[in-house]
Symmetry: C2
Subunit: 332 residues, 2 copies
């Protein structure tokens, strides 16, 4: 049995999803020869620590009841620097202005030779090259499937399953909120404003939806794909971005009568990275509805290969983190 | 540089596709540290042999001009047994009655400790357990992504990318000919017989289309998925099969008016394996048109994850063989 000691840094929806998934999959991981032991769970107020492994069910209950897991006053950065373990699961909130705490946490982890699995887009959008090179120099593993498309696998899919197959471009719907709004506007012949209000009530759109509806979230994900799949060195500023706020129900209806839907499509190739509303034929694999995400990879040998899945959700995103963890530590 | 000596046994459309892909990707493979050298190309009449590596362009030209690569009178089985190499690329035709030459070839390869990558469904449909256990006992690698869905990855996708994610069922469209016929019947409001005739003219349906339209091909692929993904020990006889020959344009149209398409869906779970025409909502990820294949995996943690791609084509299928080859031999 291989013991993997890990910290969960950031205990919002995704960090809690990771805790739930590790509880659910304990036996499965043990059958695979992995004893995954969480030695620290950290949120913005402090941490629960135990070198033998914290009780994750207690952490989840405490977070629900008190709004924090904090039993001790220690930050994520201090945990990374001072406590022996192998893997940092970095699930602090995305900040695309500065990289936020996540950037410091990841760099500190690599400096200590720890592995990192993350769902945090900020640091990867701003400092991809730095992070990858620091990880490589330290011999650390660095995986981030959960940053793009939640449970819809695209990075590992491109790099592993399509090994040997040159990828010319990736295009897709990478934001479930925008997809939901456009799908509902067409179904209900309703205005952007009305459906946005509905989405907020349902918790599908955030209170401040700018990040989603202006295409910024999609752009960040494209930057990660550009760097991870195409080996580019891009940042957010390299992306042409148009959001969905100007789309009318009339435009959606006219497109539909001509056999098309309008979707917010992000596309990345070696030459260009852009996000904009585009027409998609109704029976094309990219034409998926609701909050689904989809990515279509144009490959040299196999034509278009498309993956569809749930782009959000705490357990869904945590499942991508679990797959990354298993890929790093299971016996080959 | 790691030298991988391989034989191509079977030089029909897929074997030729493998030769083309190896020619195209020579530099790519070398950059990855792999010198892939084909020491034998075999068809039903004989073989071209060279311990230093045959000239694949010459083999392709000879096959086109003379209908065979045979320069020497030797069978695939004899090549496997008598010539030193590491990998057998088995692309002989599928025979689901006896397993055909493929079954003997694979077993002989494993007995010599050779690795096998194949597109041949027959042996896997009839003798999966035997093959996997013989390979394991010999320490041989055995990969067969190309047997299901051509270039649409599903086996490696389930086993690698979704590592840690329990899969409850797989359902999908695994036969491009049936999908083409049903798509065209709806588009043209034409009868099964008329569109079948069109498909034959276009080379999309075989002269004897039974294997496709009766659902047999789909059933074979489900057997492989059942064994590879769910660890079952099933054969063709365990599948309930209904084909598409009784579907009328009226049924398709009525379904469409109610927001559905009719597709030949194969579904496998631990409890049941079956193939039958089923209704699929128009904006569901399974509702893809033309000759596309699609597979939807119902996962415990991430809900449904769907993959779509070209299910046939020699280069497309060869690309799946290439991915398997790279997965076996590249440095981890």
């Amino acid at each position: 049995m291989k013991t993997v000691r890990c910290s969960i840094i950031g205990f919002g929806a995704i960090g809690q999803g990771v805790a739930e998934v590790l509880l659910m999959k304990k036996e499965y991981l043990e059958n695979m020869g992995l004893d995954v032991r969480v030695i620290a769970v950290v949120d913005s107020k402090g941490a629960t620590l135990s070198p033998e492994g914290v009780n994750l069910a207690d952490c989840l209950a405490r977070k629900r009841e008190k709004g924090t897991v904090a039993l001790e006053k220690i930050t994520g950065l201090e945990v990374i620097k001072s406590i022996d373990h192998e893997l940092v699961i970095e699930t602090t909130p995305t900040n695309i202005e500065t990289g936020g705490a996540g950037l410091q946490n990841m760099l500190a982890a690599f400096e200590k030779g720890l592995d990192v699995v993350t769902s945090n887009k900020g640091p990867l959008t701003l400092n991809y090259r730095d992070l990858v090179e620091t990880a490589k120099a330290a011999g650390s593993k660095f995986r981030f499937e959960a940053t793009v498309g939640g449970s819809m696998p695209v990075i590992n899919f491109a790099k592993e399953v399509l090994a040997g197959n040159n990828i010319r471009s990736v295009k897709g719907i990478l934001n479930g909120t925008c997809n939901y709004i456009l799908t509902r506007m067409l179904e209900e012949r309703a205005s952007y404003t009305d459906i946005l209000a509905e989405s907020m009530e349902l918790g599908i759109a955030e209170t401040d939806p700018t990040y989603d509806v202006e295409g910024i979230d999609t752009a960040c994900k494209l930057v990660i794909l550009a760097n991870a799949i195409f080996g580019l060195d891009t940042t957010y500023g390299d992306v042409d971005v148009t959001g969905i706020t100007k789309i009318t129900p009339e435009a959606l209806e006219m497109a539909y009568e001509n056999g098309h839907v309008i979707k917010l499509i992000g596309e990345v190739s070696r030459d260009r990275i852009h996000v904009a509303p585009r027409l998609v034929p109704i029976n094309h694999p990219l034409a998926v509805g609701g909050t689904l995400n989809v990515a279509s990879l144009d490959t040299e040998l196999a034509g278009e290969i498309t993956v569809t899945g749930r782009g959000a959700g705490s357990v869904e995103t945590a499942s991508a983190i679990l797959s990354d963890l298993v890929s790093i530590y299971r016996e080959q």
